[in-house]
Every structure is written in structure tokens, then in C-alpha cells.
Point group: D2
């Protein structure tokens, strides 16, 4: 019963198979391997973006920090949700890579709203040398609270960015889960919606450790290569990153896995709801934030269930007190496990 | 009628006199001048801090950024008021000097409160490698909204910092104005209240361009000297910084000037109040945030008065609409000017 | 006939097997996996260093830059060979990670000498705030010219560092090859010789992409964890780094592979020597720098041999002109390939 | 008898007079003062560069570091003389401001040569992502060894830079002394010779603390303003920087003072030569590097003469041993002092 995170699950066998296949003879290092050609072509096709510059790195934080740095001068500020991974969970990596730029955080409940974004941008007036200058807007899709921006919501956010002539980054650590939830095309959720650069997450959805950075405007390509190397994120045996991504993309495995993860979460959410749990945020994809009584937490805990309590502590007196939980499903969680989890509810 | 800022006024004649006196023969460069000895001794005496390390730089931003960097690792976050100069008006200098550290801003009305500070610190849990680590707390005294933290308020803030074992920086760009307002001793407003390092502002209060950085614990001394040089803030003809500060400290000129500035502001505030203006914040020192009708703004504007409108625009239809103004008095503003300003009110 | 680099070869099957074994169920992320426990214990045992702090990253540049940053303040200078990877091949990553520190490069033929090191250190006098301050010494073993520092040479270099109280980093991208060449113990080549921190390379010697950073003094441990995360080098599915390293260490596979690579190079060198090639540097481990006539290069080139010309161009008129070559053997090169290569020599 | 440096002398009375004149009423802060208009126009006229962007900072290190950062990406390397101030005397400020860029130092005797420059540039091949990328060339005029590049030498250096499409910075901490030595126009020594940006030093030549940064291409203007503010080098009471520079430029005072300093040095050099001293470098401007016997040093030392021994120690046994000295003359040194100094020679 592992619901702690989707970053801790196994690698899908078909992805591992591609890794094994790649392990023959010598291959050109540093991204010049033949598999990378396949990956580049595949991503361009999937995103309907024949000019896109496509790069691989091994961690989501590297993807975000390098992508943002490509669009952020050191005297600018990135605009992001208060809850964003880049603000909460990357130990200042975005600031580091962007040369000591600032993050301006936007008060966020479920997900960033256009009004809140505009309110954060407005005070940083252009031409005022004393202020941090306006820089890129970073949107997280699936948000860190498990909600998914509808296409029109995404477009409304990027419209605000365009209003101020600011570039837009999409943190897609759970890109596939969002896409599966919306049922739209990758292009619709990115460049057609006004996104300039995407962190295309894969690790959480069945890979070993690989994320793509996709620039729809290839003008940033060479600078990105230098930034990646300078950040020590250029792999010599790059073919093993390529192989993971190739396996991930093949036969739409990435979508299959995301749908599986979302379905798992939906099944879990349905069971929780039936059992009277309260949701802190709408469970749109594969993450659930729910509250239920302490004694059920205790029972699950005793049975070895793994997940994070959400701003609450297990310790306490009142068995009926409602405590928050973050429950994440990856593709590999079985219905058996979910049902075992749900069996602790009355 | 210049009320735009206290950063634009003249240098007091006695300070200029010391600068002229310093201009004889050669003097040892880079802070090894004899006048700096006098300054160091003077500040140590005034602050009752015989061990303090004392340095001079030429700008307030340099003082703040270098002082904070001395207490902030690149993976930490500085806690400060949303309204703080380091957040709003230094174009990422603190982030730059602190090696790409983060600023966590605290929602602030009049001035930072202990509860809001604690609420900002708490989520950055120690031992969590993903989060920015807790770093120094920066308090602005006089605050950027013209209010002054009472001694017990200061102590309550530093108590929160101590609770989490965090160092405390005081941005004293208007240190003298705050001290004059509180009527306490420099030691009471700093190390006795739990402050570790002070930006002791002087430029706004009659100097040409000099600020002291005072470390009550001299352990940071040599590192600060390296940081100052690396930041290009070490002056060869340092004696001219020393001379300004020497003149500023002599015969308590600094306090005399601050009292003069505060008295000017009090006189102005009294007149505004009598005329029915509304105060946005309590005018504790030498800055006033007030609202009064558009037609009076227009009349002042036509007469050449200089000050910033506060989140409002002069243009508009309604002559009775209440518009905000920031009015700053320095020591050099005459009663005549203030009364001329007030004469535009009915 | 692939002699271009040891960074482009396959992963050893036993290492891949451990990766496959690791792919079961969920595992704690971010270095808290059980395999990392095994790795840590293994490295401590091999290095006879029960207190050592051991970390894994995926690239050699990350290992070097993070290790050096842990011992280098931004106002210091790293001392290294002119030929060092950190100077020539890391696109300013060491400067980036060390917060804009300087590299002072030491003129180097075969490898760094104590006299040249001392001559580089001496002018940066302590207490001079204008100069970059003295920082860590970085030694490359195997050097970038294929030579190996004898133990007494290593000790002579670290003795110079100690003379000035400077920490010592060992860039061991080819650690195993050096150890195999010297026939000493890991402890003898590191902490017993005065080394403080090691980049323990593995990728070039049969892994997919993993390097260990080993601190003999664990005082830097937590700071390193923060630096690694901030650099975006902390893997969520860390077990796959651990698994590679576990396979690499098991049954001394790492030494077996290094001996194989060195033997391959020795066989190649012997053949080259017999054929009249000239060596630019002594081929102590698995890299050969040799010169032989253009027409042989042409013949090899036509046959598809892959390697770098060394400061020379294939294009030219004189078939007898002696051109340099860098020839690197990894463990996977077969005798057949080497003999095929040598068959082009008269 | 003060020959230690030209950074420690008095401010010329006419410059101080302008500072005093500037001290009336309020003036617009942050470079928007009226005197800056005069300065900008004056520098544009003097340099025959009506489009030039002109900025003031207070230290030479700030001028150099900010000017170079404007032309150097973090993944590039600056090319400079081994002896350059930016390499030897700025405690990594250029690296800091350029976002952790590298300095590639060029072996230098008297001054940088085109061949040595080319040899340093060549190995950093474009398109190689592993290497630091080629960045700006920085030339020091007067060089740190007191020599002056002839115009054709300057042009030969900038021709090498242009060959590789690299921008050129001139560190003119002693710009006026060089100009006086060459007898050419400011335009001839800068943009007509292929220089893109100049640090126009003034502090060493009679000012209190002010240096101009002059961009002949104004495209960098706004970015420079942001860099200056972010570096904490933007003065609120900027008029006092402007006033110094205005006084310095008025009636060609800057050239008068430089000629005076050069004449002083020529007088001193002539006397030293007559007394049998050996010159380490040609004393082209206002700095002399000479060797003479220890007993004369001792005699001068006892008489209170101040200057730096050059790579030698006063302590020693042999009274006839030849020891090096660096002797710098500023405009304020009197003939009486020089003759008093020379009177210690036989």
C-alpha cells in the first residue's frame, strides 16, 4: 500500500527493455547517440512541433531550473504558485540556475488564477531599475495539489503573461497525467495554449530517471546545451537516457501509464468519498488530498500503508479528529492494494 | 517643497567640512586610514559594543546585501516583510550577494508581526533537503511604511528568530529616525534586542553616500572584508567615507538631524490631520502615508511640490476622490516649505 | 575499433543485472533506498574509512564540481593542472558550483608537480583582501594525459597543500585504472596520501552513469546533500544509481574491469611501440598519446577506427608526417579489435 | 615621499570645489541629476562618440566587473594578462559579476602580445560544449607593469579579438596617463582602435572615488543599469559622483593632472637611471619598476619613504643586493619630494 509518491515506483518493463537493448557496443556520447534522434523525432511528432528543440536531463528539478534559466535574466523574477515545486521543493535550484533571480509567489489554493497572477505581475513596473524585472511565468500542470488546469484556464493564464510580454514555462512533472485527465493533445496543452517551454516529466510515470525539456522556439537551443553542461547535467552515456524516453514514447506507453495511474486514483477517490472522506482539493489526476478520522489513519499506519499526512500529526487524543492525507497513485499500484487500503474504512 | 525622498537632500555642512579636512596629503587606502579608527571607536562606544566589527560602504543596498550574505547560505531563505527594501527596491541584490538564496516574504501591513514571521518560518522544516533552509530574519526599522517597531515589538520578533536559531539583520536605512522616535539607546534597539548585524544608514540623514555595517559578533569580520572587496565595494580613498561618518557621529549630529527630520514630519502630519487627511499608516518617524482629495494634489502639483502618489494616479475625474501620497521629510526641509505645502489645504 | 573514449562503452552485464534486480516494487526515494546502505558500507570498507560520507551523482562533472564547492569559498581559487578536466572540459561548472570562484591553472606536461603547485600558490598571499584567497588543490589521477602519479608523487603534492593548509580533492574519473596501475590500496591512494575528498569515477569503467563522492571527514555531509539537491543532482529513483554502484563494487568487479582496460592499453602500446610510434606521454593506465605517420592514420580512418587526433589534422600533404593520436581503451575493447587496429601498422 | 600608489593621494581642489557646489538643495537621485547630463555630454564630446552610453560608479573594480559582465556570458571565459588587475587584485569580482565565468590568463612580461592572446584563444574551440566558450578580451592601458601599448599594438590586439568575433574591454584605471604618454585622442585609443567598452579611471588621478564606464554601442545601456543596481553600485546622491567627474573633465583637468603625474615619474626615472638603477619594465607613464641596492632601500625606508618592494624583501645580509621597487607618482607628488627621494642615491 504505497501511496507516498509516484517518484518511488518501479520502471515499466518495456522501458527497461529499451535500456537493455541500448546496451550494445559503443555509442556516440553526450546526446549524439542514434536513439536520441528517434526521441527527438518522436517528441516533435507528438507535439506537432517540427522545429522544437528537445533535450533530456535526469531529474525534474534540472528540467525546471534549466528551462526557466533559459528565459530568466538574473535581475528578473519568476512568477509561480506559492505551492509550486520550484518554490517549495527544489532547495533554491531555480534561483541558482537563473543566476540569483527572484521567485515571486502567487497565493494559491487549488491552482494559480489569472487574477492572482496579474496582481503579482503588476507592481513590478517596467523601467523601474530598483525592482526585480518581470520574468517568466511558471505554471504547474498537474498542480501540486492534484488539480488540473482546464485548457481555457491555461489559456487565460498565458494570456496574462502575453499581456506583459512574458514567456511561459510549464512544469509538467505529471504532464501525462494532466493530458490523460483533459483528453486533449500535447500541442493543445502547450504551444497552442501559449506555452514556450515544457518540462516533460517521465520519471514519475514509469521511467528510471529522465525528463525532456522542449523548447517550441529553437532559438534557445545552443544556450541550453551550454547551460546543461555547465550544470553538470550532460550525460556521457546519454543513450541510456534516450532509451528510457524512447521506450516511454513507444506505442503511447506514456499515455497508457498515465491513464492507469489516474484510474487508480479515481478508484481510490471514489472509495474514499463513499466512506465519507473530505477532499481538500479536487482529485483531477493521480493525487488525492483527503481528510478522514485519526483512528482510520492509525489502522492504515499499523497495516503498513505509506503516505504523507498533510499538515497534521498522527499523534493526538481524539480518534475522530479529521486528519489530512496526501495519497498518490502511480501506474504500478494494483487494485488489490487500493482495495486493501479502502478496507480500513468503515 | 521636496517630499519625494530623504535620499535626495543635501549633505550637512559639518559633514562636508570633515570631508574637506580629510583631503590633505596621502592617506593609507582601503580602510586603513586614521579616520576609520576614529569611526570604529565611535560606533563601538555609541553601541556599547567594544568588540563590534565595523565597516563602511557607500550604498544602503550594499550594506543590506553584504550584511545578509554574511549570515545566509545559498540554499537558505531570508525572511523579510513583503514591503522590505530588500524585496521591493534592490533589484535582486540580496539574492545576488547571498549566492542565489531565496527571499520568503511575509505579508505586511504596517510592519512585520511575530505571528506572521513564525507562520513563514514554520513550513521550511529543518532536515528537509528539498526545501530552502531557514536563514536570517531581516527587520526594517523605520519600516518602509513609516512605522517604528517599539522595543518590545522588536524583541518579540527576534524572539521568534531565536526560537528557530536564526540570525537577525536590522535594515536601519533610517536607523537614526527610529532611534529618535523611540528615545532609546542604540544598544537597546540592536544587540540588546537580539539583533546580530545592522545596516546603519547615514546617507538619507545628511551624508553624501556612506553606510556602516556593524557586526556585534566579530567572527564574521574577515569574511565580510572579502565579500566587500569581491562585491567591488572597497574604496581606495576610503578616508572620504570615514570622514563623512566621522562628521555624522560627531557631537551626535546624526541624532540631531534625525530629530529635525522627525519633527518636520510631525509638523506636517499635524497639519494634514487638521486638514482632514487620512493616514494609511501611523507616521512614527519621518515618512507619512496620507490620503487627501485630488484637487489638493493638483494644486500642490501645480505649485511644484515633489512627492510620490501612493498607488493612485493624479489623472481622473473626481476632484474629491481621495488619493494616497508618500511624503518624506529630511532634516533639510524648512518649516517654511512645510507650511507652504500645508497652505494648499483648505 | 573504438578508441575515442572510455565514456562511450557498454554497461557491464553484471551491473545491468543489479539494475534489473532493483526494479521491483516501490523503494524509498532520494538516497534512502536499501541498496545505498550496501553501497555506503561497501565503499567505507574498501577505503578503510568507517566514518566516510558517501554520495552518488550521475556525472563526473557533478562529482567534481560539488566536491570542490564543498571546500571552496567564492572568493577563493582552486589550484589545478592546466590540463585538468575541471579546467578544460566542464564549461565552467566548477566556477558555477563554487559560487564564482577562480581556477588557477598550473602549467603541466605529464602531470602536476609539487614545485609548479607551490609556485602557483605562493603569490596568493593570505591576508591580502585584493587577491583571490587560496583554496583547494585538485589532483587528477589518472591524469588527463594518461599518466599516473606514483604514491610518493601524490604525497609530495598533498604535502605542498598541507604546507599552506589547503584541502585536497582527487578527480578520480579513472580512479580504478590508476589503482590497478599502482597496485596499492584505495586508502593508500587517498586519505593515507592526504586526500580529503574523492570523485570516485565509475561511468567510464562499466557503469551507466554513476559516480561516488567520498568525504573522509563527514563534517561536510549535510552541506553536500543541500548542494546536491540545489544543483538538481538528487535522484528520486536513486536506487538505480545505488544498484549500478553495488554491482560495480561486488566481487571487485571495478578492479577487474580496470585491469582489463589497462591490459588492453598495454597491449596496444606494446604494438605501437614495436611499430615505431612515439609516445607523447607515458601510457601508465588506459590512455595512450602516440604519434605515427599520416598514412597509417588515413588507413585506420578508412577502416572505420574511431579516436581523436591530438593537436593535428588528418588533412595534409606529407604521408610520412607524424600526427598525434589519443587512444583510450575501456574494459570492453577486445584483443581482436586491438590487433585489427595494429594490423594497419607496417 | 609617498610612492606606494596613486590610489591614496588627495582630491584636486577644483574637483572638490565642484562637489561643494553640487551640495545645494535637493537633486534628483540615482543618476537623474543635472550634472550627470553635463558629464554625459562631456564624455561623448571628448570621445567623439555622440551615441555612447555613459555611467558612473565609485570604484575601479566595479567599473571593470560590470563592464565585463555586460559582454560575458557565465559559460564564457575572459582573456586577460596574467598581471591584470582583474586577475590579481579584484578578489574574484569579475567572476562574481559575470555569473561564474572563467578568466583565461595570458603569460605576460611587459604587456599582452597579440601572439600570446591568439594562443590563449585558439584552444577554446567554438561549438565544443565542454569547454568554456570564448568571451571578451580585456586589455589594461597603462598596463600593471607601467608600460603603455602603442596605438598599433592596441590595434593588433583588438584585431586578434575581431578575428574571433570577441568584444574588447579596456581597463583604463590609468587611462589619462596612457593618453598623455601617447599624445593621441581618446577616440584613437578606444573605439577607433577597436575597443567596445572602457573603464575610464579617475580616482587615481585626482578624484575622490568615481569611474566612468563608457559603452560605444548603447545597446547594453539598460542591461548595464540593471547590473549596476543589482550590484548595489547605484548611488542615491549620485550628483556627488557626477560633480567629481564634471570637475575632472572641466578645462581638461584630467589631462593636466595625468601629464603632471607622468612628468613626475619621468623626473624620478631619469634620476634613478643616472644613479644606476635597473628598470624591470619601461616606465612609460607614471609607474616605475626599478632595482637598486638594498642599502639605498634601507636608507629610504629609514627616511620614511613609502613604496612597495617588488618580489623582494628588505631583510637580508648583502647591502649591495639589487632589490626591486614599485614607485608610483600621482599628480600631487612634488618635485621636492622626488628630489628628496633621489638624494638617497649616491
Amino acid at each position: 500500500m504505497f501511496f507516498a509518491s509516484d517518484n518511488a515506483g518501479p520502471v515499466h518493463p518495456k522501458i527497461m527493455e529499451r535500456v537493455l537493448q541500448a546496451n550494445a557496443q559503443h555509442a556516440m556520447p553526450y546526446g549524439n547517440d542514434a536513439i536520441m534522434e528517434e526521441v527527438r523525432a518522436g517528441i516533435r511528432r507528438i507535439f506537432e512541433a517540427p522545429q522544437a528543440a528537445v533535450y533530456l536531463v535526469a531529474t525534474g528539478t534540472a528540467a525546471n531550473a534549466l528551462a526557466l534559466a533559459s528565459y530568466c535574466a538574473p535581475w528578473q523574477t519568476i512568477f509561480c504558485a506559492e505551492t509550486a515545486h520550484i518554490n517549495e521543493d527544489e532547495c533554491n535550484a531555480p534561483e541558482f540556475y537563473a543566476g540569483a533571480a527572484k521567485l515571486t509567489v502567487i497565493p494559491t489554493e487549488d491552482r494559480m488564477t489569472p487574477d492572482a497572477l496579474r496582481a503579482a505581475i503588476l507592481p513590478r513596473e517596467p523601467g523601474n531599475v530598483h525592482s526585480a524585472q518581470r520574468g517568466p511565468v511558471s505554471i504547474t500542470q498537474v498542480s501540486e495539489r492534484g488539480t488540473v488546469h482546464a485548457l481555457e484556464e491555461l489559456r487565460a493564464l498565458t494570456a496574462v503573461a502575453r499581456e506583459f510580454d512574458l514567456p511561459v514555462h510549464l512544469d509538467g512533472a505529471r504532464f501525462a497525467n494532466a493530458l490523460a485527465a483533459l483528453g486533449c493533445s500535447p500541442a493543445e496543452m502547450t504551444w497552442k495554449a501559449g506555452v514556450d517551454v515544457v518540462s516533460f516529466g517521465s520519471t514519475k510515470n514509469g521511467c528510471m530517471g529522465v525528463e525532456a525539456v522542449i523548447f517550441f522556439d529553437p532559438a534557445k537551443a545552443w544556450e541550453f546545451e551550454l547551460r546543461r553542461k555547465r550544470g553538470a547535467h550532460l550525460f556521457s552515456k546519454h543513450r541510456f537516457l534516450s532509451a528510457q524516453m524512447a521506450g516511454y514514447l513507444q506505442d503511447d506507453l506514456w499515455l497508457t501509464l498515465a491513464r492507469q495511474a489516474n484510474d487508480n486514483a479515481a478508484h481510490l477517490a471514489k472509495g474514499l468519498q463513499a466512506a465519507g472522506a473530505e477532499f481538500l482539493h479536487e482529485p483531477d489526476a493521480n493525487m488525492i488530498f483527503a481528510r478522514f478520522p485519526r483512528n482510520i489513519h492509525q489502522s492504515l499506519h499499523d497495516a503498513g500503508a505509506q503516505y504523507y499526512l498533510w499538515n497534521d500529526l498522527l499523534e493526538g487524543d481524539d480518534p475522530e479528529a479529521m486528519l489530512g492525507a496526501r495519497l498518490v497513485c502511480d501506474w504500478s499500484i494494483s487494485r488489490t492494494q487500493i482495495d486493501a487500503f479502502l478496507s480500513h474504512f468503515p
